[in-house]
Amino acid sequence: MLDKVLFYIFAGLAIASGALMVTRRNAVHSAIFLVTALLATAGIFLQLRAEFLFIVQIILYVGGIMVLFIFVIMLVNLDVALQQIQFARQKWVALIVALALSAQFGLMLWSSEKIPGQGIPVLAAPPASELPANSEAVAQSLFGNYLLAFEIASVLLLVAMIGAVVMAKKEK
């Protein structure tokens, strides 16, 4: 019961702040609402008993990436932009894409409930008390099965770091 209420609270918060993020005129307000949406998602992770991912989401996404975003918004301080039109003239494209996507997702969800054996398999998830300690399990998996992927991710981050430094450097 508690689980259910928490899910609805977090899901409502995530969707509402996501919608607000897309529609706000001021980029800093957009960033604040994105932070709210990310925190709500972190709450969903916690509700799914993914504790490690919850804290990674908070430390990396909220504490790292979003701070970077707000930094750049402040460096690129645009008072002019506030007076201009916020939306490109692509409303119809957006509407069509959104409708097509909703139709696709809706069909997928609907069909998965109709046809047993196809779509999403309906399993009983293991109860929370039977799950292993989360951060240990993630560590085992990360440094066991996915070690190569982990190394590749570190190379990716290195490349991104060098790239960002080169991009943002002032030309002498």
């Binding site: 899910f7 994105l34 975003f69 894409v97 909703s102 997702f105 996915y146």
Partner: protein, 100 residues
């Protein structure tokens, strides 16, 4: 956990909101933020299925996606700053040097 459909619905909703943001907004920074929202929607799906099957592989993939988002944000914002220095704008439809 709740039935998996709840999580799929939430994820689909966030995904569509993100897509609408990417298509309609003019400010490149907000477009990048919408992409973060899309990545986030994907993460919800991965973690929900990881919980359904009792297998942490989904969470490990979500970790990789978060690392990827960090790399993307760093490079993307670097490009935006470099562009802003040259053209004094961050609006997507004014980035038209290559348009004939």
């Amino acid at each position: 956990m709740l039935p998996i459909g709840h999580y799929l619905f939430l994820s689909a909703a966030l995904f569509i909101i993100g897509v609408i943001g990417v298509i309609t907004r003019r400010n490149v920074i907000v477009i990048l933020m919408s992409i973060e929202l899309i990545l986030n929607a994907v993460n919800i799906n991965l973690v929900a299925f990881s919980r359904l099957y009792g297998d942490v592989a989904g969470q490990v993939f979500a970790l990789f996606i978060i690392a990827d988002a960090a790399a993307e944000a760093a490079v993307g914002l670097g490009i935006i700053i470099a562009f802003f220095r040259n053209r004094e704008t961050v609006l997507a439809d004014e980035m038209d040097l290559l348009k004939w």
